[in-house]
């Protein structure tokens, strides 16, 4: 069971990451490339949250309905960090999309193969 979870959850995260990378490397459509980047991010975030999980732990919130003892809580640090990572990922995605729009205006295409004014 433990192995299944380990490989299953980590495997999913890595699969997402690699899927994203694959899209970035193979897709010709700029939008799809940006989506690939987002998927890559999602995989990373999933992995990050997953490594903070502790079997039987709950959210690290001392709520009044059920004051928990700290030793039953999952690691809060990855959650805090992943929040940051998500926001950063959003920022990058937004800028990427803006660039795609600019490129579309400039080249009238979103095919990355046709956007090669700069080389060598």
């Amino acid at each position: 069971m433990q192995d299944f979870l380990t490989y299953g959850i980590y495997g999913t995260a890595i699969f997402l990451m690699l899927l994203g990378v694959y899209a970035v490397l193979v897709k010709r459509n700029l939008i799809k490339i940006v989506i690939g980047l987002s998927i890559l991010d999602s995989g990373l975030h999933l992995l990050f949250v997953a490594i903070g999980f502790i079997s039987g732990g709950t959210a690290p919130i001392f709520s009044p309905m059920a004051i928990e003892s700290a030793n039953k809580m999952v690691d809060p640090v990855p959650q805090a960090l992943v929040l940051t990572a998500i926001v950063i990922g959003f920022g990058v995605t937004a800028v990427a999309l803006a660039l795609v729009i600019r490129l579309y205006r400039h080249h009238n295409t979103i095919n990355i193969d046709e956007i090669k004014n700069l080389k060598w």
Binding site: Y7, V26, I51, I61, P64, M73, V95, L97, A98, I101
Partner: protein, 235 residues
């Protein structure tokens, strides 16, 4: 051929990383500094949401950076996509047919304040319940998104966005600097911590998270507005 190569490379990478991760079993307790946070957050800061305590106080500096990233994204998009003056005055006749249906519009009207309220609720209670400034801000932006896509004529006042994000940013940094004045270090929690699980607790943490909420909400809204209105504006 190239795809096959890429596929092979990625499989190799996946196997390598998974191989290493297999030595990091899922669900094990690996906490070191986190134990300190879990202990100090309710005791010293009186913040029941430990994630919030970390985000706003223990690692508040990260959050300042994060807020900056959003601010930056908004500014960056603004500079990448300059806006044409004509966007709001004259709608593209080609597009009139694609106005959202009346039903969606009516629904959006009703749900808009409720979604905003949910966002506000979330960032006001960032130190008590799940979520916080970022999540609340994102929900608020979602509310605006709903309006933006339902009404083509709905637009966000950019000067309002500017004011909100600037003032919220100043509140964040200002509170941090006040921490230097009254506590000695930047972002030091100089206000009384209060009582665990009451709204007024956690000292500056709650205030900062509210500011973050405003800032994130304003920035995301601005970003969405820019992206949506620019894409409507064709060359």
């Amino acid at each position: 051929m190239k795809k096959l190569l890429i596929f092979g490379l990625l499989i190799f990478i996946g196997v390598e990383i998974l191989d290493v991760l297999s030595e990091v079993p899922f669900g094990e307790d690996r906490m070191k500094v986190s134990n300190f946070y879990l202990e100090k957050s309710p005791e010293v800061l009186k913040v029941s949401n430990v994630v919030t305590a970390i985000v706003v106080n223990f690692r508040g500096f990260d959050t300042l950076g994060e807020v900056t990233v959003l601010f930056l994204a908004a500014a960056g998009i603004g500079s990448i996509l300059y806006r044409r003056r004509s966007v709001h005055t004259e709608l593209n006749p080609k597009r009139t047919s694609t106005e959202a249906s009346n039903i969606v519009q009516a629904g959006a009207k009703v749900l808009f304040p409720l979604i905003i309220l949910l966002g506000a609720y979330i960032f006001v209670h960032g130190h008590l319940t799940p979520g916080g400034g970022f999540q609340g801000g994102a929900i608020i932006a979602t509310g605006f998104l709903l309006m933006l896509i339902s009404y083509r004529k709905f637009f966000v006042k950019h000067s309002g966005v500017t004011w909100i994000e600037s003032i919220a940013g100043i509140v964040f940094v200002g509170l941090g600097l006040l921490g230097m004045v009254y506590g000695g270090t930047f972002l030091e929690n100089f206000l009384p911590a209060g009582e665990l699980n009451s709204l007024i607790s956690g000292g500056i943490i709650g205030i900062i998270y509210i500011a973050v909420g405003f800032k994130v909400g304003a920035e995301l809204t601005g970003v969405l507005d820019t992206l949506l209105n620019i894409s409507q504006d064709e060359e």
